[in-house]
Point group: C2
Chain length 96, copies 2
DNA sequence: TGAATAGTTGAGCAAGTGTTCATATATTAT
DNA sequence: ATAATATATGAACACTTGCTCAACTATTCA
């Protein structure tokens, strides 16, 4: 089946979301459930700024969604597709 | 489930294989079957050098395998994991 | 009101990526 | 041998990426 250039780019962008260890770790935490930026930063040993920068990218890719509550912002995974990619990839890394 | 830093890196490396449009297109052709470097280059409108450089990376990641026949080198996908990731990603891009 | 807290944003920079171009190697044909 | 073909490789370069740091906004608390 022929793959158009546009779809090749979109596919590459999708996989780029998971092509960095920090983002993978962010997603692995968000799979457990909603989390604030500072909780993510603490859990990942990253500055809030660095986390925020990554979340911005993930937001633009529609991979996470933000919900504001007071002065905190809670993030969740936007859909289960990325989660499926994640667990399939993890399966590949762990076994296989 | 806790994700170790090592596995986060390995996961990121795996997804990096598909994080570039040229590599996605190379893989989309190899899904159809074995292909030589020059056939890939022609099918993708890339120089043989550029294709060869990308194939080297994919080889190192154990995503493709090379088979030499005379002066041609034929490449195939090393296992079906990446193919599964590819089609799951494509599904996400096309629908959903 | 002013201070503290949570997060975002932009600039700057070091490191990484993907291509081109030239060159090298291996194989086949003359 | 020499030439031609198929691929690989290294250097160079433009471009991208992910971080830090400082400055900013928004919200809560005293």
């Amino acid at each position: 089946m022929k793959l158009t250039e546009l779809k090749a780019i979109q596919l590459a962008e999708l996989f780029s979301a998971l092509s960095d260890a920090s983002r993978v770790r962010i997603i692995s935490l968000l799979i457990e459930g909603e989390m604030s930026v500072s909780a993510l930063a603490e859990g990942l040993n990253m500055t809030e700024s660095a986390v925020s920068h990554q979340l911005r990218g993930l937001r633009q890719m529609r991979i996470v969604r933000a919900r504001k509550e007071g002065r905190q912002v809670f993030y969740t995974l936007e859909d289960e597709h990325v989660q499926k990619l994640y667990s399939m990839g993890l399966d590949h890394v762990e076994h296989g």
